[in-house]
Amino acid sequence: MDTNSENKTSFFHRFRKSRLFWPLVALALILIFDAIYAPGFFKIGILDGHLYGNLIDVFNNGAPLILVAIGMTMVIATGGVDLSVGAVIAISAAMGAVLINPAFGNELISNEILTQNVSKTPLPLIVLANLGAGTACGLWNGFLVSRAKIQPMVATLILMVAGRGLAQLITNGQIMTIYYTPYFFFGNGFILGIPVAMYIVAAVLLLAWFLVRKTSIGLFVESVGINDKSTYYSGISEKNVKLLAYTFCGFCAAVAGLILSSYVHSADANNIGSNYELDAILSVVIGGTLMAGGRFSLLASVIGAVVIRTFTITMYTIGVPANALLAAKAVLVLLVILLYSEQSRRLINSLFEGKKERRDA
């Protein structure tokens, strides 16, 4: 590698080595597929002064997933995993709904009271409660992992199981339909024709990017994922790094819960955010972060999430039923994981290198 590194600094070479390369290739493949089989896919129109179309949908509908993927990236980079994100979304959504109108859970109250466009709690407080609940869940996961030393998968599995129960406890087991219009702003609103959800994603991404690139947290997270003993010996509190990662992941899931419940106008503790843990792990894996932890890229994970959303919408567009999609996705992930494995990477690299040498000769 060292011997001929000089003549290889071409843009293409650097791009190919970059973490964004493979996720973008995947995205490109899907878009090419769309261009051939679903030409209508790329249509972007303006309706009531708002942008709409599949491509906008990828970001608008995909906002919760992108958010969760950002949080999940941090956790996976420390060498852990968070299976509870779906449940945390449910808890966050339930929290919002119940604060708008605690009577939602009571079946005996007449419809007139329920369907009023009012909130019992000021909106900022609702948002704060949403985010607080999710962040607290993340803190709990982080505590179990870093202080109680429970394996990440097990620790978060507990909240994955019990979390939906908790959400139902909050909603009293009812599907709470929300009629308070200001709350819909987060999921359905537009600013300058662009969905509000996209602004929120940008804000969280900016926050995460700031934490990762402008503070030492990013470096610490990577070093914990690579070798937590060496990290500890270097004078870094590896426990607090893990705690922070899980807490941040909880926060991201909470924001996702806010957007999602606002988008669907309801909080259904059983179904909201279901399978998000799969999609989030998938996004991170497609983004090239190893499940074992270490090096990570937030942007690559975001692209990973976009790939999944695009894939999903494409499948819908060509008429694959929602449920069959699950099977296809599962196969996709497995292929991606195999593709990223050491062996196959070496194989691909050697193919590239081989070609280049032949051309040089």
């Binding site: 507990i158 199981v161 129960g165 406890l169 792990i281 296809a328 599962a330 497995l334 195999l338």
Partner: protein, 325 residues
Amino acid sequence: MHRIKKFLFKNGPLLATILIFFIVYAIGGQLYPAMRKPQVFFNLFINNASLLIISIGMTLVVIMKGIDLSVGAMIALTSVASAALLQQNFPPLLVILMMTLMGILFGLTMGAITHYLKVEAFVVTLMGQFFARGMAYVINRSSITITDDFYKFLALTKIHVPFFENAYVYITSLVAIVLLVVTFIILVFTRFGRTVYAIGNNEQSALLMGLPVARTKLIVYAFSGFCSALAGIVFSISLTSGFGGYALSMEMDAIASVVIGGTALTGGVGNVFGTLFGVLINGIIVTILQFNGTLTSWWTRIGVGILTLIFIGIQSLFYVRKKHT
């Protein structure tokens, strides 16, 4: 005195599980006198037959320090697939055979991927879960009713329990119990069974001891696949239908049962007998909620979640200390 202490130490988590079961049962009996009927106890075996079956498979996987998140979805897939085949007038015995073969192959594939390609078991089996659930919906998006006579015969034949008047179980409950006994014998009395324990304790050591690690791991995942297919058949028999939405999150109930039954998620420790009580505790909580009527089912989840956490705590107390002394 020393022996008693040793016995308690060795079987602490299991005894705690059994004790909790009886305490919960007694509380239920106090609150709702109708629960004291013997049939209520036997209903636990009727209602939880498929949970018990997948939990048995899960026990082996967890003892081996693995995990199988695909079992719930496999139940759904098997139920739909068998219902669809029966609709096409396939002979029921052939359907059952095909389903178990499918389960074994499915488990084997996942085992091979996690062992040879070194992908974490929970990732592979999570993918397995989504694949199976998706395939179930691909076969049919709505529920298919089973009208086959043989299935109906299996579903409706009561077997009277000796010594208890009017108490009965169904054939499916017997299947679960036979599987339990067979698995118990395999775990305790065969080289394969002991190798499972050895791998769970330390895979590297097991390899250095010259034990067949790869083969054992594949067989265990195949066994779990077999169990989930069997559970799917039992499930479809008891509901006489197949549907892709069946057994949602049931893998969580199975894992919780296994953990509550004293099997350590850190591997190497546990037995299927404890798993039986884990399943029964799960069942008794549901039963009490049913008798109560006003509390909704989500209390089960919270209860089971808390119990799981407590048991992980107990385990680390027992086993971690044991390892360090």
